[in-house]
Subunit: 359 residues, 5 copies
């Protein structure tokens, strides 16, 4: 289970080592997905939604005045992506990056388009965290988006375009990109909520004292999860930073306010992640303290048992000796006197331990 | 108790996920509060104080020359806030942020107003720390303030406006905003004072050696409290920083001196929080040391008891053997000689442990 | 003893909460001090030294060509300070800061004067560290200084003014301010020397192995002391930084060289403090190691005693059994053979522990 | 094995101490390598590949219009390198740096060439990590490369030049340098993949609980390896940063996009290294926890055994006493009653330990 | 031994407290050194080397066209230094700094000269690290150097000047300063080599498991040594940084390349020091782990011995009871049966411990 994490991160090295720069090679594992292309073409007044069979069908949208969103699912269809890229005059390195799913979130500015890579982060059915790459190309009147496979967080966006809800139909392509990124960032909140719940569960477990045996392992795994989420989300802040400082005409001044809003959300998410990190370190500390307290308890029981019975056993040993002349043994009440002494010692010990607060 | 913290932080995700950007949705829990609107309208000479029944009654103040403070309590009255927002031409994202109580302290500059979000931090009746969001909109001749519910720290400000105490009646709206923020920052001092007292109490407890069983849990909880206060207060420094570097005409040069003063106070508060953080880490260390010292004490008692009586019991065992021919047993004084030997061993041990400083 | 530290830091909140900004309220504890005003008025040729009874007597110096140093002791004389402030046209916030002794070292630039706050740090008679606030106002031909009470580090400065030693009588007010700050910074060296000695003493104690019981508490207290000194001294670096970059005409270019010299000293002090911090963390580590080594020694003694005598006692137990037929018991030399076996076991154990280096 | 690391790093001091600056002295250990010079001279249309016997044969390429790559293996041939350097007018310090293999990755800009030093990092046959220095000189129409010995990662580059694959034959010398650096950075991915595998192996080992005795030593060694890789790779980021901000005409604007791509890869590698660092610290923690859990288990067994049998042995001791009058001893069923009592105590103990979850 | 370190650092405070700024007071301990002045005066063609008896003899060199290096040993000769300073028009603070050996490495720029302070770092005969201050004044045609006592690292420089080796005779005074600083930095490599060896020795010791008793103390001492070296070397990076960015005409553009070379070396040294720091922290960790592993071994022996013999002794105790009716005792083979049972228990225990891997 754990082994997937680092291997995925470095896939690139395996498939691409020694390839000429700019080679468009898909580095992911989902090579059996179907190609899915959906397009939204809209103006303030109209909206056309289509599912295409080939990228070529989408070429017509480039020269229209309407805003077009072309969403391509299936990064293994390298040929189609290259065709689309050539039509939209994308740089070879952009195409390489689109299909190389080990990208770090980043923004690259080209002469007449912006290239943005980021990560959708979510928990899949097996409750393991998944970070899936999504690339965007923002042109003057279009947004291209590229995903590994079907299934995403853009349904609310589709809904708003179809039904002209909100501002999206009145705005340009830069606003469309904003709504798409916003949908992704919104999902981060869901992820950190789950992380928060997990940390709380640990906290409750540790506070209750009934710690499961593999607690330290689970804490370790959670640490790693936080590391992965952090890694997918943190570079995005820089991306947005660069958008905000951007002087390109592709993003209008009035839309910048909206990007600033995503920035705020991202900082919020980042802060939470950092707090979680700090909390989990504290939890590990708590765990160690709890373990060490339990150990102390064990030691106390041992000390008490041994300290009480060792001297008593010694006394019994004394009168178990076979010397011919031991005066006490002749005494009629010797046995009872010895019992008395033993009980006194016992009580004295108990009192001592009580005072030491070991009982 | 603990579970509220993270859940509150991420409320947004639950109520707002998938909403179009700019949707004005209240994300807090106090949906049953009454709407309370109070207005102060003053010039150097006069001051009118009113409690309004609807936001519409306040619309008249916008075009007057006097300074107006409109203070709205009840973020669940979304419609009223939207009405107010439209009248004062506020950006939809501003309205969204006002009612979304999970904001981070921030400042947004718009063409003819400033939007400032910050947090009141205080201990409530249950001694749990509460951070409540307050939003301000600063216009040329007005300040709008938005709070979740009635009850705030602005009474001294109201008093000064009514009775023309201090400079407030002679100054513009930027100075009014300053006094409001200053009142909030002043309260932070009260909070860190309580935090300081709590840390001292722990210190005394740990130094005294009589540590309660749930000490580590309480330290943990305090760490968390400091984390929360830090989180509410630290971003405000950046807000003030941006005000100080601001070139807007909304805040006059002579008022900047006052904002710089708040900055100084904030740095003081921040420094204290950081010192508390460092101290609490040290405390945890101290706690661990104390625990480990106690353990040592337990081990010493065990070692001493066992080391003394184990050899003595062995000797007793020797003469408890049933060999037919054990010469010592026949001796008339054998028993007493053995006692003598045992006492010598005992004293030798005692001397050894004394020298080792274990006694 | 410890409780004073944080309470002092946050005094302001108690006395000043809810006051209008700019209210001049003394926040210290020395409300019974006498007012002491001393003035030095000098030119290259002459020097007049006076002790005044009221601030009003000092007003004449403002318009002279000579350099004047007015040193006021007694921050509880708020009225007098306000009078002085009005005469010298100081901003209300400056007056507020002068009497609020919880200031952080800082510099504020006003149109025709500089306001500098810093801390004298020294060990008082009770060997506790004290940081006392000193405020300076630097005007074109005067320096005002404000202290809580009589007694300071400026005697060498007074001496140099009186006797025209060094450059001070040939220079302007900016050089006078420099000599005053230099005297304060010089004292920091004395403080870090004492801190250094304390750390060495701990080091010697821990290396010697004879650790006192409250060692961890003392280390903790020292950590705190370093924290306090750090807090009083570090912000001063920024103050000097801003002086060096200053473009005000109040500080001349040729005097800047001298301020840079203080900067160098401060960096030296700061570096030492940081080294001490690191050393004290190391000491705590050493302490823990020493404790844990002692524990090991205790455990070894227990292990050796128990491991040797437990099997021997078992053998004695065997022959203490009352079976009717135990052949060995009948043997004439049985008892001595058993002794022989026991001694062999004992020697074997000793050899084993020697080899393990536990003895 | 370990001793090589620091000694290698500081070789320079041994061979070069006291040499005049600019002395060209080889500081490596491979003084018996053969000199190998290979050249690629190509235009869009043609490509000539040669293996030269002396550097002098390469001098002709300098003045041609074609792009030339001269790759020299054998840094111990100081004379040849000096000859080449003089021909290409390299600064004496550049020559000194080429043969001093303890360089940090860096870039130096000279009037008509760029000098870049970086490190190839790979695992050799003995599974120890090796970082080998490669220096590049980029001129207008040539790239010189210098390596310690034969064997490198440039085969794919050679292949692409020979067969005109990719863009390399259509571009200038700046693109050639890019492909060479890219080949080196590509190999870093292989190294971090192995590091990742090693960390996983440790993780599996620690999670399984069957920890080898020298685990802590191996973790320590891995920490060191990561440190070395980090040291070889991290400064390269700065090198690329400076290339990107470079205003030299040696690197064309359109090639910069490619360098930015290496930058992205480097950041990815760096992030992985930092994650590995964090993970290995966590592993050490896990290891300590596991050790301490094992210790607890040992202590529990001891406590249980001792706590159960110590009181039972005491009871047996009681009735082993030789008092003349012990009433119980006369009882016909005394022996069985005592057995009964002992079994009850035994069961009581078992129940107690079960409830404490120590069993 | 240890006590010298901090005391030396803060000497200044003792001798200089309360002195007027600019007082030239020697703060070191070597007050009995002889004054040694040597001069090198050279042009491309000629070189005169002299040992002078008084500083006055050197005054003639100031106005010549040749390059002059005046090297003064003996900072206790304050008068002579002041005389030299006046002749070369040095600022009083420069003179103060030359004889105050507690300076931090720094550079001060004056109108017609540069003042540079740095530290020679070396191990003396007692294997303790020494950092000795060297000050340089760089004028247009001269370099003044000031050292505490005879004996330095400049012999190779002298040799090169005398014999016109390398470039030094062809260059200006800025290059002379470079060679002097380079000689000092070269020596740093020797120091870090020794530090590296020490760390390796510890590593070997800890890995071998035969740890000396004072290991933690020695590690502590090494930590401190690294701290001291770091402190002497790190500020020099900033000094060189400022030289590189310098716009003074005293250092020519073509010489800057050489200074950049020192910078590279310094970064290399600094990186090594930081790696050593990290390694020594790891070593401390390793040490703690080793100690704790040893402890575990002790505990295991105790547990095994006690767990095996405690139940056996109990059985022996049972049959040592004196009940009148114990049926087993009458049995002819009872004794042997009991032995059998005991051996079975013993074997069972051994098997259990083997399986637990405690044996």
């Amino acid at each position: 289970m754990l082994s997937k994490v680092p291997r995925k991160r470095i896939h690139r090295s395996k498939k691409k080592l020694g390839q000429a720069p700019g080679s468009v090679v898909y580095t992911g594992e989902r090579s059996k997905e179907k190609l899915l292309i959906e397009t939204f073409d809209y103006t303030k007044a109209n909206c056309t939604e289509k599912h295409l069979n080939s990228v070529q069908e989408s070429f017509g949208y480039k020269s229209t005045d309407s805003i077009t969103w072309i969403n391509l699912n299936g990064l293994n269809y390298v040929k189609d992506i290259e065709a689309l890229g050539q039509h939209y005059e994308l740089h070879p390195l952009v195409l390489e990056d689109i299909v190389n799913i080990a990208q770090r979130p980043k923004i690259d500015e080209y002469d007449n388009y912006l290239f943005v890579v980021l990560k959708m982060v979510y928990y899949d059915k097996n409750k393991t965290i998944v970070s899936e790459q999504v690339s965007f190309v923002l042109g003057e009147n279009y947004v291209l988006s590229f995903q590994e496979a079907e299934g995403d967080v853009f349904d609310t966006v589709r809904d708003r375009i179809r039904n002209a809800k909100g501002r999206v139909r009145n705005m340009q392509s830069d606003y469309l990109l904003y709504t798409l990124i916003d949908a992704i960032v919104d999902q981060y909140f869901g992820v950190i909520e789950i992380l928060g719940d997990k940390i709380e569960d640990f906290e409750t477990e540790i506070f209750s004292g009934h710690i499961e045996e593999d607690a330290s392992r689970n804490i370790q795994a959670l640490k790693r999860e936080i590391l992965r989420v952090r890694r997918a989300i943190f570079p995005l802040r820089e991306v947005l930073n660069r958008i905000e400082k951007n002087e390109t005409e592709l993003i209008q001044r009035k839309t910048l306010t909206y990007y600033r809003d995503i920035s705020d959300h991202l900082i919020q998410v980042s802060e939470n992640i950092d707090i979680y990190r700090e909390m989990i370190w504290s939890l590990m500390d708590m765990y160690m303290t709890t373990i060490s307290n339990k150990m102390n308890e064990v030691m106390k029981v041992l000390t008490i048992m041994a300290s009480i019975f060792i001297p008593l056993t010694f006394i019994a040993g004394i009168y178990g000796m076979n010397f011919e002349y031991i005066p006490e043994l002749k005494h009629r009440n010797g046995y009872f006197v010895v019992w008395g002494v033993m009980i006194l010692i016992f009580l004295g010990m108990m009192y001592y331990f009580k005072r030491k607060k070991w009982l």
